[in-house]
Symmetry: D4
Subunit: 172 residues, 8 copies
Amino acid sequence: MNKIMVGIIMGSDSDLEVMNGAVEILNELDITCEVSILSAHRTPQHTVQYVEDAAARGLRVIIAGAGAAAHLAGVAAAHTPLPVIGVPIKSGAMEGMDSLYSTVQMPPGIPVATVGINGAKNAGILAAQIIGSVDLSVRQKIENYKEKLAAKVEEKNNRLQKLGIESFLEQK
Amino acid sequence: MNKIMVGIIMGSDSDLEVMNGAVEILNELDITCEVSILSAHRTPQHTVQYVEDAAARGLRVIIAGAGAAAHLAGVAAAHTPLPVIGVPIKSGAMEGMDSLYSTVQMPPGIPVATVGINGAKNAGILAAQIIGSVDLSVRQKIENYKEKLAAKVEEKNNRLQKLGIESFLEQK
Amino acid sequence: MNKIMVGIIMGSDSDLEVMNGAVEILNELDITCEVSILSAHRTPQHTVQYVEDAAARGLRVIIAGAGAAAHLAGVAAAHTPLPVIGVPIKSGAMEGMDSLYSTVQMPPGIPVATVGINGAKNAGILAAQIIGSVDLSVRQKIENYKEKLAAKVEEKNNRLQKLGIESFLEQK
Amino acid sequence: MNKIMVGIIMGSDSDLEVMNGAVEILNELDITCEVSILSAHRTPQHTVQYVEDAAARGLRVIIAGAGAAAHLAGVAAAHTPLPVIGVPIKSGAMEGMDSLYSTVQMPPGIPVATVGINGAKNAGILAAQIIGSVDLSVRQKIENYKEKLAAKVEEKNNRLQKLGIESFLEQK
Amino acid sequence: MNKIMVGIIMGSDSDLEVMNGAVEILNELDITCEVSILSAHRTPQHTVQYVEDAAARGLRVIIAGAGAAAHLAGVAAAHTPLPVIGVPIKSGAMEGMDSLYSTVQMPPGIPVATVGINGAKNAGILAAQIIGSVDLSVRQKIENYKEKLAAKVEEKNNRLQKLGIESFLEQK
Amino acid sequence: MNKIMVGIIMGSDSDLEVMNGAVEILNELDITCEVSILSAHRTPQHTVQYVEDAAARGLRVIIAGAGAAAHLAGVAAAHTPLPVIGVPIKSGAMEGMDSLYSTVQMPPGIPVATVGINGAKNAGILAAQIIGSVDLSVRQKIENYKEKLAAKVEEKNNRLQKLGIESFLEQK
Amino acid sequence: MNKIMVGIIMGSDSDLEVMNGAVEILNELDITCEVSILSAHRTPQHTVQYVEDAAARGLRVIIAGAGAAAHLAGVAAAHTPLPVIGVPIKSGAMEGMDSLYSTVQMPPGIPVATVGINGAKNAGILAAQIIGSVDLSVRQKIENYKEKLAAKVEEKNNRLQKLGIESFLEQK
Amino acid sequence: MNKIMVGIIMGSDSDLEVMNGAVEILNELDITCEVSILSAHRTPQHTVQYVEDAAARGLRVIIAGAGAAAHLAGVAAAHTPLPVIGVPIKSGAMEGMDSLYSTVQMPPGIPVATVGINGAKNAGILAAQIIGSVDLSVRQKIENYKEKLAAKVEEKNNRLQKLGIESFLEQK
């Protein structure tokens, strides 16, 4: 399974730190991905070409992150039959409300699977879930990941019960 | 392909008219689905049981629609490794802003693929895209559907050019 | 001056009634325009082609109206050096707030001249002002139009002073 | 009265610093409480089990704090006949608006007694008021607490009258 | 148990239709209540007197409903050690957002247990839960009520499974 | 004219730094004022007593500043025929939107003259304008103040024209 | 007292029905007023001239109502030392939020005394309170008015106690 | 082409740092401009005079930046037939939402071409596009500028592909 499964695109290199959250979780789940800076407004032809080639190149999911009037996910969705996950990026005076609305409120026919503002990690998990909807080994990895999440909460709760609030807060 | 692929759940029968948009488009794309009324708050055990069984029963995607403090999609996502699509339903004084925020702003680890307010049709298409990410016959149907969408826009534009605005508006 | 000066595009024929406000005021100011239904998401190639040809065809301004996650004006602005005026259309649960944010909050480099929600008439006037910034006969027509606006307010005020509130409200 | 009266739960240890405000005021009012980290999405079974046992264990009130798409209070309310107080926690790009809406806008049948964003102290007082609605010694403690609050305001006002604004601000 | 347990107050008789939702559910749960029109701004003395007498008269909970800059619940909470439940009423241009913020965002020391906009029914249930936190017969009634809620959802779901969507929607 | 003309009240000493803006401008305009910390929720009786005595003591205007669910100005307005100016104070997660709505959206019959968030200086000027509506010497002082404001803008503009942007920004 | 005391201006005759609320209450309180349609944007010179003459003509207060980007009250305040009361008018897609923000958020130096959205009646009462701050006969009329308001609430409450909810709602 | 083409005005020198973004891009595109501090509320006469003279002085476009209840662009638009571009400036508790609404929601007849909050650079580009709508040398400069924008994105993308995420982020 060496083929790239997930294409992660973003409108600007200033989005990279946030979007890296998707890369990290995909790496953790052993799902291959690639990352590109492609702007819906500044390099529209390159963006369209990338998205139009994605399915034929074997990508299964596209993750698109953008801030402000965030059109990247919608533009991607317009040019591919693949599922497109949109990550609204927090930036500027509206702190991501503009990107959320620009990403989630797509017109009938062209959905974008939107996650929360700056929710790149969740975008990566969602991409894994999409791949795992038919690939049982990926699905197992998601189950394992969720168990680790649960274990971490339990471990913290246990530590809190043992230490009490004050010591817990001090040791954090 | 007679097995049910998509499980559509909603918090109340008052959501059915909106959620039927997902059923209709899935029917149009020849993707099998089932519909249940399951409340995160009123029938939580049944909801959890449904969602926990979903993967083993062969479902590939869950679509969850709910209004107000819409917890259904999040609760579903907590109990399955399958991708969960959330449809915020417009209702009450906040007209769906509460459901949008309750659905999309999921904490790290448990994503919900959120579509626009009342965007049940798009939820259906997204479910199809998820299935089509590995099933080329479904993907083809999505391509066909998008071509029909484009053709309808073109046809309307052509009619507008021929008729002019006034006649076009009259004949609508 | 028979060449088309202003290209008015909109994402759906459901926007036509609102966008007709731009056509009517441009007609009143004797500025030629054309109207097309072009969707950023459903007919993206046609949209891009239209916008890329616009300058060479002699258009001076493009007016783009769209609702929800309104990407049309931004997509247009990405493909032309002409000024693009964006009209956020009121629709759905967010009543145009989504279209406003999607239209006005464009990233650096690709501006959209945004008017108010459903402000198609103002988009038409703005297009005329842009043309009138070098064409004195158009500018004169704008001055005349503003004088007529003022005269109407004055006439109403005079009638109010003469009739009193009650009779004025009855005769409205 | 050594039995635990109030169960305080929160979705993540990052909420502990805020939620400690409830613990402190309950301590001050001599009301016993316990604190647990329980996630509606990451440890849902543990959460449900805790809440379902709460009434039989003698708890009188549950206080639930969570951020983002804050489902914890609602999930708790679904599984107990006890009153559940919800504390929306400020976090992320929406600064707690998402948690407020997710907590307060509960559907008919399953109320959550919501306090202000980060209002953990008020949640503690409200829990005391609920217990004090039949326990006159607790009620008296609340009266005393409110008198202390009033005295502090009066004392500050007196100091302001004596010192004048400048000296008052300097000595703060 | 003939003594009045719950005092329901509202700022205007225009709130009565909404607030009646609290009365009806309290009647259904056999909890006695009384209803008064008391304005924080128009009859402030009467309001204060009512609230100050409430505990001595044996009331256990106060429910306060008001619209716009809704101060009634906060004013009530300032004058009683009893728990005060606030119901933001939808009215005017802000459709209840103003009442929600005015009710829920109380300063430290004076909590209001806020339910959703127009959530009078939930206010009644919450009042019952508060009484039921020590009164097991009331608690049992709440359990019964929640079972009925669940049964209604199950019954609807069963009917939907039997009839299919179309027939279900027709018979609604 | 040694009698106190303006009573400035605020809900907490944490509001004093902002509210001092009103004191300073009133001092500059030679209008006498007094400042008190009076909480609508923590010292309601004192607050009511202060406001009820205000007119008889010769006060002409009351300025009330408060944050969060800001009821102080409304409570004041309920107990006096004097004009009450409300200053919404920025605080907490909502950054003053809650105080603005709680202050400005008063029900019919009990107005509050609301200024912008943290607009204490403008509250002071408005108080002066109210006094100046019959007192020509105060009115003259307001005219002088506005001329000074204008002169400052002109002076800055002149300096900008002389220095150019870069030097102007450096010398700021 | 035959001289006009209050000048009521509005941006459009479509605001007249709302603004008439100010006229009616001023009539009821025997305060003389005049009404004009003056647009900040369409008849700016006339507006400025009216406002600049207001003080010399003996007006004591100006009430300005406008919708959308409501600049009228601010423009008025820029040209007079008199207190200016702003009434944000509900209109268009934003339902008055735009007018509220445009009216209340005035920069330092130029306050507008803002009332709630469509709060023309309160604007009238506020104008009376301003006049009554030195005119004891007007102040008495305001006291009487507030007593009538209180009596109406009391009368309704008494009727509710006598009739019970059902009959009360029927007879409304 | 030595005549000044674009007049940039702003309400306060505190807006200069943001508005300088318009100056810099106009300089880069070889379009002459001038900058003035002119307040709609503090120096209204000077503002009106500047705007009324603008067309006769040969200006083609006016750019107006202001914060809070931002009336400057609207006031400018009321006094000139030239196109007016509005820049809402982020400031104060509302972080520019007030300026956005005050600028974009202009009433019919008086449009303002609004760019995003703090979008001064885009205002400059829009002004250039307006001039370039008839001036082919300016249009060419805009095309060149957009090509540079695209090249920068491509260059960053290439660097990202070569370096990988970690090294890219480190070298930023």
